[in-house]
Symmetry: D2
Subunit: 291 residues, 4 copies
């Protein structure tokens, strides 16, 4: 494939590197050029601007939030203006359901194709090509992007012909991770204060009913209260719970656990938690228990 | 071992059967005799009363709640009155931290030994000898009970010399399961109303970060809204969240997710949910979303 | 005073009528002309468009939400474009803190003055000139608007030189009303199911510690479950709790009771509560109790 | 009337003093004799034990909690054993619905009469004879106690023939007060951090829709963050929310705001709040906002 890739953050850089490693021709662009240059040594062409990267006809975006995505797509010389007729925009960013819907509509109006393909996995999984890709869009669009999905991920799930469905799945998945963090935080505060060894307790959980990566990864951080450096920064978690709640509000679905998590983040931010890992909300339970 | 076993509910019957299968000599007792008789065909001796079962010197109890446990231990001819000096009571029931502490103290005062060994696993795991045993108590008591633990479980965790620690772990584990049920209920309400296929969504979860039995088991029930027949009845779940909250109250540990789950059960009970599975609280999220 | 008035909903019409009654010269405008015509019989001049009303030099806006306010201010021929240099815009609408801040900034940039003057009181209080006016802005602006405040309200509170402070007070006040509604809903569900006569209970409350209008007004509606016709429609309450939460999010202030109320509204909306009074969220507590 | 009075805490002492002032003959008893002696100078007879006070035939109890009430009623030489046939026990303590029900049943079985008459008002109201009395029980019992009610209170509400109904009203009333405290805490955290003067804000509230004593009293404490000395100690508030939740659990009525308040108290207690006023839970909102 000949593919443009916009956004060379830790996730995007890993994905682009795996596209290159799989033999694809990749034109990268990043607002801060240095990050794009780093990919040049791996064989990427560095574009001078968004438009140049769009010439590939297929362009991936992996950006930090709605604002960044809107700017790259709708800005002057942006994706919408630059992608050729019939071109394909694959959005892997964790953006709102609402923006994804709008992108689908605006690309269609412009005679372009659009698919959403957010991913599950942290930067190390992106670097290792071990992401899980949640892909939604028209069959031909997903077929076209399929080799790229294979290069960046260990498995692709095609979930819907409506792109925004993939974003809803991504956001709800992140909510579910946060609900695990919150619950683990509460339960660790409880058993630890009750005299149980937290590490052994975690071992029991992950050896029995809770033998899933999410419990191992976050259980470890919570037992150690090791919330720095951030693997996934708290403000990003806060953004995702906000977007999950926004999607739920549009659908009239109350999510009380998500509301609780939202409040946790506000409190964390009010106390300077901006640079902590999102799992730091679990530390509030222990704090409230007086430890 | 020569062991008494009090309580032939679905859990106790499975455990006793595995003790027999492992070659131990088992004297069983149940308030309703018919359930005890069923074990006779597998080689158990059926005791006429609690005292008779206690003569074995080591006695397991697997009873439904604090009230049943109190009655069997403190009642006339109960365990406390009947167990010989130096005898051992192993409580596998899911009882309160407070009662377990009291049992430890009262058995010690009576010159008897006491260990708590609640288990994780549903009746099918009990029948298969695949329980996880959470054992706490003095080393000699746990050593003495060890062959029995091996017979009923796939793994034993020795967690503390203080028996009640095992009960705290059991209750907090059940709280954690319920937090998964609640979160899954919310998230399934959201994605389903958003047009995502719930079964495929569950498949994504359990193929990726949430590949643990608790997500598979309860995810399935929640997708199907199959809350009858009850594998674990809602009133038992309600009891366990009550006991987890009681333990947390004694330790001054707020558990907001547990509070939320407690309220779910009250609502379920107010609408006749007594005979449903505890995962039925997840159905309330879908109901609130108007589906 | 010579004053323009934009927005002839139930609140705006009452306010404009009292301005007229107090002898002020009032130019009214409403998107739907019929509502403006109704004021003509009371002596108002009906403007053909926003710009015409702005010629008075002082213009009040009383609009339903941010969207309406944005459209009237920023639209073509809107307040920003039409108000003369040194002119004054007094916004009485219940809008977001964020929009109020933006209005202050944009009017200043345009050489115009801006004050926020949201009000407490329902349509009957507006009709009676018995509103409470929460005014914020520069002293000269508030002085200039002062005769108008006196005409529409029974009392004016000058709270800050920063206009958005008045909006924060209005939103937080509405949140406080909703918290009363929610608490009353819960407590009425409890005592009623416990056999207490709800009407007598309300009488006890309002005769003792809770002798405030908010308890009388909403207590009555909740006891009677009389949620139609809407005095203040549920979608407006939902909007206000959303705006209160947005203001709190910007300030990093968790509001758990507001989060709970937000979820109540989602559930109400999912079940077709759009035309009910905002106090209908109290009915959910009784419903959850199985009554 | 000739009346015994058990419990000379701040509430009981004030009530007994007003009974004396009204000309009734009062026999007082307190576990710690010094507090009873203080009433002797006002004309009370000091009883040596509970039984002696019960000889009056009508005995009031005003004790701190269920445990104290149980001990005084069911202990050796207690009210149940000492009250004559046809004697009347009027319980003014804030006790559980469950205990009140049990008292009604046990007194009836003993051929005695029982009424519940909890009161609203703080110690200063008790001293001033300005309490509100919530009375429930058989008509003849309430008639008999009526002169006493008149002496201690400014108004008596007869609410039910079932004594426990009065206790439910008292507990739910205290819950409602706590919900005001919680909401005020949240809203004060919000507006204050948003730059609004908290004192002026409170003035606005209490001058408009929230012109009730409960807002004035607690608003003042919350604005000043003056949580010491305790007018009503936090552990008593915690007890009352626990009893309200227990009553609600028995009736299957979820009370999410009460659950939230319960969690607030746990956190307060975990941080040494035992000697603070119950309104100190409001301080947690400000703390969470980073102030």
């Amino acid at each position: 494939m000949h593919v443009g890739f916009l956004g060379m953050g830790r996730m995007g850089a890993g994905m682009a590197a795996n596209l290159l490693a799989a033999g694809h021709e990749v034109v990268v662009y990043n607002r801060t050029p240095a990050k794009a240059e780093a990919l040049a040594v791996k064989g990427a062409t560095v574009a001078a601007n968004v438009a140049e990267a769009c010439r590939a006809g297929v362009v991936f975006t992996m950006l930090s939030d709605d604002e960044a995505a809107r700017s790259v797509v709708y800005g002057e010389g942006g994706v919408l203006a630059s992608l050729p007729q019939g071109g394909l925009h694959v959005s892997s960013s964790t953006i709102s359901v609402e923006l994804s819907r709008r992108l689908a509509s605006d690309h269609a109006a412009a005679g372009q194709r659009y698919a959403a393909a957010p991913v599950f996995g942290r930067p190390d999984a992106a670097a290792a090509g071990k992401l899980f890709v949640i892909a939604a869009g028209a069959k031909d669009a997903l077929d076209a992007a399929s080799p790229a999905f294979e290069a960046v991920g260990q498995r692709t799930f095609r979930v819907s012909e409506t792109p925004e469905a993939a974003n809803l799945i991504k956001l709800s998945g992140n909510f579910l991770i946060m609900s695990v963090i919150e619950s683990l935080g509460e339960v660790m505060a409880l058993v630890g204060k009750g005299g149980v060894d937290r590490r052994q307790y975690l071992d029991i959980l992950t050896s029995t009913l809770f033998s899933a990566p999410v419990y191992k990864t976050y259980g470890e951080l919570i037992v150690e209260e090791k919330f720095e450096p951030a693997g996934f920064a708290a403000p990003l978690g806060q953004k995702d719970i906000r977007l999950a709640l926004a999607a739920a509000e549009e659908l009239n679905v109350p999510l009380p656990v998500a509301s609780l998590i939202r409040d946790r983040f506000l409190r964390l931010m009010a106390h300077g938690g901006q640079s902590l890992d999102w799992s730091a909300i679990a530390g509030l339970s222990r704090k409230d228990s007086g430890e």
